[in-house]
Structure formats: structure tokens, C-alpha cells
């Protein structure tokens, strides 16, 4: 009944909006399919950049595209062994 009333008086719950939102999410996932080759490339690039600032454990490094219901996230777990000394003059 409530749904009927909200449909009568407004468009917040229209099935079109549900369709659009579901499509948006499913396409984020579809388009985020990344090849293992590309993921490896990304890992190597990350190591190169981060190594300028700190010493990291390259073997334990994990990079994954995490997908849950609402979003896709790039999750990187990068164990730091040592920070490099910051010699640059601040200020």
C-alpha cells in the first residue's frame, strides 16, 4: 500500500530508477575487469614509485580489485620495511 501511495505521489521509487542504478553498478563491475597482465604491470609501477620513498616488502605486496555490492575499489596491501630518510629542506 505504501509503495502504491509513493508511486502515486512521487517518482522516488519508480522501477526505472532502480533499473538505472542497477545498471550503473553492474557496468562498473563489467568495465573494471582487468587482465592479470595489466594488474602485474600496475604492481611493478607501484613498487617503482613507492620505492622512491620507502623500502617495501615486494614479495608480500598485494594488489587487488575488490568488488562489493556498491563499489569497486583498488585495494593495495604494501608492507613497509623501512622509511627512507627525508633530507629535503622543509618550509
Amino acid at each position: 500500500m505504501l509503495e502504491f501511495i509513493s508511486r502515486l505521489f512521487g517518482r522516488e521509487n519508480s522501477s526505472k530508477d532502480i533499473a538505472k542504478e542497477r545498471l550503473r553498478l553492474v557496468l562498473v563491475h563489467d568495465r573494471a575487469s582487468i587482465s592479470p597482465h595489466m594488474l602485474n604491470q600496475l604492481k611493478e609501477d607501484l613498487i617503482e614509485v613507492i620505492s622512491n620513498y620507502m623500502e617495501i616488502d615486494e614479495d608480500a605486496l598485494e594488489v587487488n580489485l575488490n568488488q562489493d555490492e556498491r563499489e569497486v575499489a583498488l585495494i593495495a596491501n604494501i608492507p613497509v620495511i623501512k622509511m627512507k630518510r627525508d633530507y629535503s629542506v622543509k618550509g
Binding site: 508511486r7 512521487g10 526505472k16 538505472k20 550503473r24 557496468l27
Partner: protein, 264 residues
């Protein structure tokens, strides 16, 4: 030199074959020399939609493997002198034609015709890759449903990967009264998501069923709404700027009631 246009969608049953038949017939009705090519090997249907199923002797596989010459396999349309059909084989499977053969065939058709319209099979496997290999342009057909739009998105990605220049979209089976009450995605929703150019919008129309029953493309029926939409699409393919059809459904009782209360 003619042009090869592939009609594709990813998902089955959204109207590729109907679109191919109507666009091809529309272009031929303007005196252009057109060939329709059915590449859905094993599941041919363009012949029945065109009403030419009783005239098939040879098919596309006979041409590509050299059993007959191209001219022998082409079936002349009942209505238009300049319209031909190259039917798919019904008893073979999609591996019966290779991409090289298909490219060669497309090039040959371009020399003979102003337009070759290729009806692509559903899916993204070899049948799809064969159908697009010789195409200059692509038309992507979708309906306003989550599944069809999702598949269209995938197809657009694959077409771009094959460097087929900017595909254009046809949104088929729009139901204006459902759009109006917010229960169907409308044109701008879909264009928003897919981010490609619109070629046309076709209303859901009973006359399509009737014309398919008869084997006569709806574009010839001047009382058909869908036919009018296809006539406009044909003119756009020829480069003309044509406004979209007015799809507004007559107001229902609820619309009038809502307007009365100032809610519309």
C-alpha cells in the same frame, strides 16, 4: 565504393534482424543498391522476415567455400529491384566461415552494392567477430532493459577494440506510457549510461508482429509507427538530419488525475 554496416546487439531477441530488414528495405526504396547479409549461421531468420524463404538455393557458406559464385547465391527481393539477400546456411555452424573469408566477401560486396547490411548473430563469439570484421560502420540495437543495455555496453567496448568507427545506437521497443509513469528507462537514461550517438528510437508496436507474420518489412506500411521510425533512421543513415519521432502516448486516467492535482 559502397559501405558495409553491421547490425549488432550482444543480447538476442532485441530486434537486429527486424532492423536489418527494415533499414535495407528503406535504403533500397530510395533506389540504392542494397544487399542484406545474414551471418547467423545455423539460425537463419532474415529470409523469413523478408518473406524470401522459399527462394533460397545457395547460401553464404556456399559462397565463401567456393561451391557457387556470389551472384548465384543472391536472392532478389520481391518488392525492390535493387535489393538482394545473401542468406545464412542453416545446416552448418558458425565456424563454417573464417574471418578472412568474411573480410574478402565484405570487400566484394562493397564493389557491387551501395550498402551491405550485415545481420550479426547474438553473442560475442566467432559469429560476432566474423560479422564485424569487414564493417565500416556499426549499429548497436538495444531495448530499454537492464540486460539488453548491459550487453550493448559490452558490444560497444568490443567494437571500439576492433576500431570500428563510432557505433550508433537504436533503442527499440520503447513503451511511452511506461516511460511516462517512470517504469521504463527513457532515451536520455540509456544514452547517459552508454555514451554513444543515437541513431533512432523505435516504439513498441504490434504492427511489427503483423509485418513479420506476413514477411513484409514494416517500413513499407505507412500506418505503422515503427515503420515511420525506421523511415527516419534510413534518412539519418543517408546523412540527413531528422528529428526524433514524437512518442508521447495519449494521457491515461492517472495522468489526468495527477495533472489535476498539480503533480505532473
Amino acid at each position: 565504393m559502397g559501405e558495409v554496416i553491421v547490425v549488432t546487439s550482444g543480447k538476442g531477441g532485441v530486434g537486429k534482424t527486424t532492423t536489418t530488414a527494415n533499414i535495407g528495405t528503406g535504403l533500397a526504396s530510395k533506389g540504392l543498391k542494397v544487399v542484406l547479409v545474414d551471418t547467423d549461421i545455423g539460425l537463419r531468420n532474415l529470409d523469413v522476415v523478408m518473406g524470401l524463404e522459399n527462394r533460397i538455393v545457395y547460401d553464404i557458406v556456399d559462397v565463401t567455400n567456393g561451391t557457387c559464385r556470389l551472384k548465384q547465391a543472391l536472392i532478389k527481393d520481391k518488392r525492390f529491384e535493387s535489393l538482394y539477400l545473401l542468406p545464412a546456411a542453416q545446416t552448418k555452424d558458425k565456424t563454417a566461415v573464417t574471418q578472412e573469408q568474411m573480410k574478402k566477401l565484405s570487400d566484394e560486396l562493397k564493389k557491387e552494392f551501395d550498402f551491405a547490411i550485415i545481420d550479426c548473430p547474438a553473442g560475442i563469439e566467432q559469429g560476432f567477430r566474423n560479422a564485424i570484421v569487414g564493417a565500416d560502420r556499426a549499429i548497436v540495437v538495444t531495448t530499454p532493459e537492464v540486460s539488453a543495455v548491459r550487453d550493448a555496453d559490452r558490444i560497444i567496448g568490443l567494437l571500439e577494440a576492433q576500431e570500428i568507427a563510432s557505433p550508433r545506437l537504436i533503442i527499440n521497443r520503447i513503451r511511452p506510457h511506461m516511460v511516462k509513469r517512470g517504469d521504463m528507462m527513457d532515451i536520455s537514461d540509456i544514452l547517459d549510461i552508454l555514451a554513444i550517438d543515437l541513431l533512432g528510437v523505435i516504439p513498441d508496436d504490434d504492427s511489427i508482429v503483423v509485418s513479420t507474420n506476413r514477411g513484409e518489412p514494416a517500413i513499407m506500411d505507412h500506418s505503422s509507427h515503427a515503420g515511420e521510425a525506421y523511415r527516419r533512421i534510413t534518412r539519418r543513415i543517408q546523412g540527413e538530419e531528422v528529428p526524433l519521432m514524437n512518442l508521447d502516448a495519449p494521457d491515461g486516467f492517472m495522468d489526468k488525475l495527477k495533472r489535476f492535482f498539480g503533480m505532473n
